[in-house]
């Protein structure tokens, strides 16, 4: 599908951007903030988009840049939340049933282990296996050489494999089934 305007681009990719944001932040509210801000920046910056990359990779570049900034300001935001909540006698969290279901789903999936990877590996894994971008596209989004992406993916998968091997004892339920979440 040819994307000719920023609203179509955002509309088409919004759920995926939100999922990526959630896989990165593991927090629904933070994910929504990131996704909304990405949408906003994409719409504002569309005029500057020169078409040198695909619209989707451009959109994800924005998301990852914003995520980097969000990480840097996270402590400040948390402090502000607590400060404000204390002043107003409010609870900070109000998890809905949907949020809880999402959190459980994340915890029971292999993505829970991805969260423990170093950030640069985690970013590559999210873009490759959640968003299905090619190595070339990931290199554009993360602004690094393709070889670096390959290396990060390789190390990440090795790490996941090692963890799976170490974590699960040899029994009737093999690692393959474990990975698939078929064992209790």
């Amino acid at each position: 599908m040819d994307i000719v305007d920023p609203e179509s681009l955002v509309k088409q990719y919004y759920p995926r951007i939100l999922r990526t944001a959630y896989l990165l932040s593991r927090d629904r509210l933070e994910a929504e903030d990131l996704a909304q801000e990405t949408a906003l920046q994409a719409m504002k910056g569309w005029a500057r988009f020169e078409g040198k990359s695909e619209p989707a990779t451009w959109l994800y570049s924005i998301a990852f840049n914003l995520y980097g900034k969000q990480l840097r300001s996270r402590d400040r935001q948390q402090a502000r939340r607590f400060q404000w909540a204390e002043r107003n006698g409010q609870q900070l969290t109000s998890e809905t049933a949907d949020d809880a279901a999402l959190r459980r789903e994340l915890h029971s999936s292999l993505w829970n282990k991805v969260a423990q990877l170093p950030d640069h590996q985690k970013h590559a894994v999210v873009l490759r296996y959640a968003e299905d971008f090619s190595v070339k596209q990931i290199a554009e989004i993360l602004n690094c050489p393709e070889g670096t992406v390959k290396s990060r993916l390789h190390h990440a998968l090795q790490q996941l494999k090692d963890e799976m091997t170490n974590e699960f004892p040899v029994d009737d339920c093999g690692p393959e089934s474990r990975v698939r979440g078929e064992c209790t």
Partner: protein, 172 residues
């Protein structure tokens, strides 16, 4: 570990496939998500600053009013109109119409959620009402009033009919 197991875990394809499947399942939780727009501003899920920016961006409207008023709320409670709908009131209490032209917001309780909800009037660039919004403070990062520029603070206060000079010297 049997050879079968070793082969399986050595096969990185399985991990890759599993990651993809799990990611697809997670996507179902977000399938219906849409970004806020001028037609559907969802301040209960967004920070006020974003609502304001989105409004300005997508419609040219002036949602900054809502943003500014929320900021005022956190530092200047005397400027608000409290409306307790009492026990037994179901659901979110939406604001009544503004009591006077410059009374563009009110505070009400949402007993169903046991928390305060700020209901506010969205206004367009001419100051005309453009729908109501609702915001749950407990779920949001507040915007620090003190971080606004002086002119933004003054504009926010004027929107609720307060004298910036008086308020800013006594309450902030």
């Amino acid at each position: 570990m049997t050879k079968h197991h070793t082969d399986s875990v050595d096969n990185l394809d399985i991990i890759e496939e599993s990651l993809r499947e799990d990611a697809n399942r997670l996507l179902t939780h977000f399938a219906l998500a849409t970004p806020a727009s001028a037609a559907e501003v969802r301040p209960e899920q967004r920070s006020p600053r974003f609502a304001a920016q989105a409004g300005l961006l997508t419609s040219g409207g002036l949602l900054i009013a809502a943003s500014a008023l929320l900021m005022v709320h956190s530092v200047h409670p005397s400027s608000r109109t409290d409306t307790d709908n009492g026990p037994g009131h179901a659901g979110v209490a939406m604001a009544t119409a503004p009591q006077r032209p410059d009374d563009v917001w009110s505070m009400s309780m949402d007993p169903a959620h046991g928390q305060g909800a700020i209901v506010f009037q969205l206004v367009d660039e001419d100051g005309a009402p453009a729908g109501l919004g609702i915001y749950y403070p407990a779920q949001q990062v507040p915007i620090d009033f003190s971080q606004l520029s002086t002119s933004e603070q003054e504009a926010a206060l004027r929107l609720i009919g307060e004298d910036p000079e008086e308020v800013m010297t006594t309450s902030i």
